[in-house]
């Protein structure tokens, strides 16, 4: 399993009700289902991924995140998870609001655009950053709303969203002295657990 998913799964208690937005091939939900008895659903639009979820016995619903979560009732879930997709939706702010409406807590991961390598790519090369966390060219990237750790936290303050837990890690999903001291400069992937 992807390292960030392993990190996230530690935050989710046994028997929780989980909604995974952009659940991919269902790895996280399959793990949570088998190991933690979680009642979970994934939302996904890629049909290869949907077939992979079927094969794993993971509940997956074909649904476009950009069309909202209006079909789910408020507080239906304990956790609403979205990994590496916040930057790819049309309105990250509305998605975040919706996550906190249908779930008690939201768990979000995104690539940190404030990382020093990203900054220097743009600053020194004068080109749009391409890295292992952001492997696309400017013209074909699905990442249309990139943000930094500082941006995200400022947004949370503005909307009165409480950050319960934060892990900012490097590309190997490890945190060290540098990522802890200067997360916005040395963190490549930000992982948050938030609530209202």
């Amino acid at each position: 399993m992807r390292d960030d998913l392993a990190l996230i799964s530690r935050w989710i208690p046994r028997g929780a009700r989980v909604l995974d937005l952009g659940c991919g091939d269902g790895d996280l939900l399959a793990h949570l289902q088998n190991d933690r008895d979680v009642n979970g659903y994934g939302l996904e639009i890629d049909q290869d991924n949907i077939a992979a979820c079927f094969a794993k016995g993971v509940n997956v619903i074909e649904q476009d995140l950009d069309k909202g979560l209006g079909n789910f009732q408020s507080d239906r879930f304990d956790y609403v998870v979205m990994t590496q997709a916040l930057q790819a939706v049309l309105r990250p702010d509305s998605v975040l609001d919706e996550m906190l409406r249908v779930g008690r807590e939201a768990i979000i991961t995104f690539p940190n655009f404030g990382h020093w390598r990203v900054r220097s790519y743009l600053g020194f090369k004068g080109r749009m950053p391409v890295s292992s966390a952001l492997p696309y060219e400017w013209y074909d990237t699905p990442n249309i709303h990139l943000c930094t750790v500082k941006d995200f936290e400022a947004h949370c303050r503005e909307r009165d969203i409480r950050i319960i837990e934060r892990q900012v890690v490097n590309r190997h999903h490890r945190s060290g002295t540098l990522t802890r001291a200067w997360p916005n400069l040395f963190g490549e992937i930000a992982i948050y657990r938030v609530t209202l």
Partner: protein, 383 residues
Amino acid sequence: MPETIPQDSVGLVQPQTLHVDQPLELECGRVLPSYDLVYETYGTLNANASNAVLICHALSGHHHAAGYHSDDETRPGWWDSCIGPGKPIDTNRFFVVCPNNLGGCHGSSGPGSQNPETGQLWGPDFPMMTVKDWVKSQAQLADALGIHRWAAVVGGSLGGMQALQWSIDFPDRLANAVVIAAAPKLSAQNIAFNEVARQSILTDPHFHGGRYYLHDTYPRQGLILARMVGHITYLSDDAMRMKFGRDLRSGRFHFGFDVEFQVESYLRHQGETFSRNFDANTYLLMTKALDYFDPARECDGTLEKALSGTRCNFLVTSFNSDWRFSPERSREIVNALVQVGRNVSYAEIDTPKGHDAFLLPIPEYRKLFGAYMGRVAEAVSDA
């Protein structure tokens, strides 16, 4: 049959008949004292009878879902695209059962069969059937075949409604319900189309109040019209445009009412073929069964409540160009199931083919359906 039977066909198949002497109490209040169910099976039932899949047919369907009846048959069963060795409903792994529903006209007891109490043909006196009644009779068939619990109950359109009803009425007797291109109930528009179809039959001078058998005739024109209007709802606007456009049969206008446009020719052909092979009373009955279907009705109109006693896993599938039972209708089922915490998956297939798509070999559809059924088969062998 084609020159050689394709590798992925179930091959030559033979219908069987189950005679049930136990009376069937129907939703309409009447009782069917005894009845016949004609059905086909494909594949082999395993030792603990856990690999059985029930196929429920749609409005004009029947028990012949796959394979060929004889060497003369040019086309295989109606769902041959999805049932067979290596197909989504893999007969190497599953024992597949497909009955003809009561009220049908392909061998099971229906308006065209004999009323055992009078010795006469039932005709319009055959009791009105509902989806619930069908499910009850299918459970009798399951008992007779020694199947306590289906690995899956599968159906498209009206068949999908039966799969949903199974999950409600016999929650412990199925592990999975596969509900394809269906709806939790018909809309006013759906009922309206059915009513046009019924009126065209009822007002045909050859209908004789449903006793056309006695007059050695049948409401051919009514059936043709009914099928024509039905067929329009099975195809999408795009599908019709691609298939026919405004093409003319002879390349020019004739300024008359004979067939000029290809689409007219196609509809008339569909209607005529259908009218030769289908019974008018059955058509009336089947469309009413569709109209009556509404499991939420006895639960204050809340689908969540109706589904709260279900236990099986669900796969719900729709087709984006289907306007008869649009994806929104399937999502109503999905949302209600999520709300009551059932295991449910949903996929929406991108195709211009409309409602009829559920019968067609569309690669994405087969892949997704196959992936789900593969998991169902694995769970069976684990059991």
